[in-house]
Amino acid sequence: MARALRSARVRAALLTLPLVAFIGATFVAPLGAMLIRGVHQPLVADSMPRTLARLEGWDGRSVPDEATFRTLASELRSLRERRVLGAVAARVNRVESGMRGALVRTARKLRRASPASWREATIAADPAWGEARAWRAIRRAGERYTARHYLNALDLRRDAAGAVSAQPPERRIYLSLLGRTLAVAAAITAICLVLGYPLAHLIANARPATSNLLLLLVLVPFWTSLLVRTTSWIVLLQNQGVVNDLLVAVGLIDEEERVALIYNMTGTLIAMTHVLLPFMILPLYAVMRTIPPQYLRAAASLGATWRQAFVRVYWPQTLPGAAAGALLVFILAIGYYITPALVGGRTGQLISNMIAYHMQESLNWGLAAALGGVLLVCVAALYLVYDRLVGIERMRLA
């Protein structure tokens, strides 16, 4: 008996093994590697080993000696030839703004030089080298493992003395962006609940034929491409769009005062609510369908008002559905990228857009990884809450 059970266990486990291995290799491993990228930055250390070795004994305040300058010049020249100068310079620039230009300029100007004093020639190429901060930046960027990106993602930094402190106010953007993302997700969840609850109730209590039809109407957007829906919101909401035309036509607003409904936070809220509403309606409907109408009638016959019956009898029973829908909507909302990117304009961007920005435009991959790590922690926490409250195994589609 025990053996039979064991072989059943093994067989079941073996059946899941291919997908576990597949997800592990194609999905989990990349995520893990990315999170490590947030702390592991070997490029500068690998590219300028001799300069960094010379800087190890340096006091951090004075201008380094001639030998260090000569080493720097020779390593810069070789970086330029090996075509990694740009990548190295970009990383040093993140520690000290302005260093990309300094490194690239210096390498260009010293490429064929063989001066008597490397120190003078280098400082002549770019005066930054006459100050200790440029060299400190090289040393910091040369750290193989760094908490810099995660600190940066939390609006913290390490000052010259090495103590962790808050970023100066004008550079504090990520925490407030995370806060904004959570607030937007919460707002969308609330809007979805308010909009979805009555409709789910109607669908759950309508005649089967009507109910099926309504359910189909809810499912149409669910199956329609996200990009299609985003396109239509643009068509509907833009300055010269259908909604504004309509408002002008019926005389609610003047031609000159068309409302900015898109390319701002309003656009993000409207389009995301539309995308996520079915995820709220479906679990609500699934729960409401199982609530016998007799309960309400019983409450009514016992003299309850509509409000009492709802608050005391109906709402508590729909809580599981509301919780499932709300958590799902919230989880999906905090990671949204496409909709805000297309309709959010300047003010409607969320944390995912910042991650994409650092991935694709600023190429600050370490910071992108760290921001991703912070977001991932939020999602994982919510995922666990979902498992506690609803059960991951009970996640349903349509």
Partner: protein, 373 residues
Amino acid sequence: MTSPRTGRATPPRIAGYAAVAALLAAFSGSPSAHAESVTVVSYGGSYARACQKAYHEPFTAETGIEVRLADFNGDLAQIRAQVETGNVHWDVVDLNFPELVRACDEGLLEPIALDDLPPGPDGTPARDDYLEGVPLEGCSGGGMLYSTVYAYNRESFPGEKPTTIADFFDLEKFPGRRGMRRRPAANLEFALMADGVPADRVYAVLDTPEGMDRAFRKLDTIKDRIVWWEAGAQPPQMLADREVTMSTAWNGRIFNARVLENQPFTIVWDGQVLDGSSLAIVAGTPNLEAARRFLLFAARVESMAAVSRYIAYGPVRRSGASLVSTHAETGIDMRPHMPTSPRNMANAVFNDWEWWSDNGDEINERFNAWLAR
């Protein structure tokens, strides 16, 4: 595969089919090795169409090498990412001068020996034929001169029309939203000129912290009314849709929208910011030979002059100036529409690409922080 009707497939067989399907799909769709091609990345829209007609198609006719076009917005980011991760899938890129200089310094581009570039029609060596100030850093060839100007939709202003760069910033006299490119270059120059700085003093003023603050303060005055564009095709569209009443734009895009689509746009040349762009080869492309042939073809004076028959951009070689003639499709004389036409140059500033390539990073950072606020 998992046919429910026959129910014949067993799990291993399903997996087998799946693997075969995946492999077939992967190979059938992988880049075709048979037809030689070169991937050229440029700014899309009417400019890309002009280049296609002017020298992509003749190049294919001459060499049999197919040209694949892709769009980008002029940022180095994607090139940097490709070179650094070793995923180079762009062969030739069309870069504005400041980015060209930086990319060349950073090692993102393949070197091109100046002496390899084709001589002018009269035999002038290439190194003597390029206009003064064109950055020949050993990474590029080909190219054209263009200008960032602003244009307005005449239907938006039935009465008085904007005529100066200051009018662009004057929301009282000329109400409505403004389109501006989502990057600092040219915008800061416009802001200072609108604030009264003479064209020849713009970079001297920008080079000081106070001057930089002054430019941002000027932009602040219209910040709430700005719609940001990224692709060159957007400004004509935003003007046509009346999404904005005026917009900064590349002069050729506005010209083409006017002559090819009869759009009621007017260019204001006052305060124009002249710049150029040039072709370069992404370092490490597996397609180096075809890319080089393409670049050298594009660097011929005839190719450059041909561009100016489809869009109002000028050749960057001296011998090209005399070849500018009429618009290929409408027969319009192109010379008055060139940014360098004397009539348009009354108050113009040349983009200082050295200054921008030295300071671009810091300013971009500041600009993005300013945008996010």
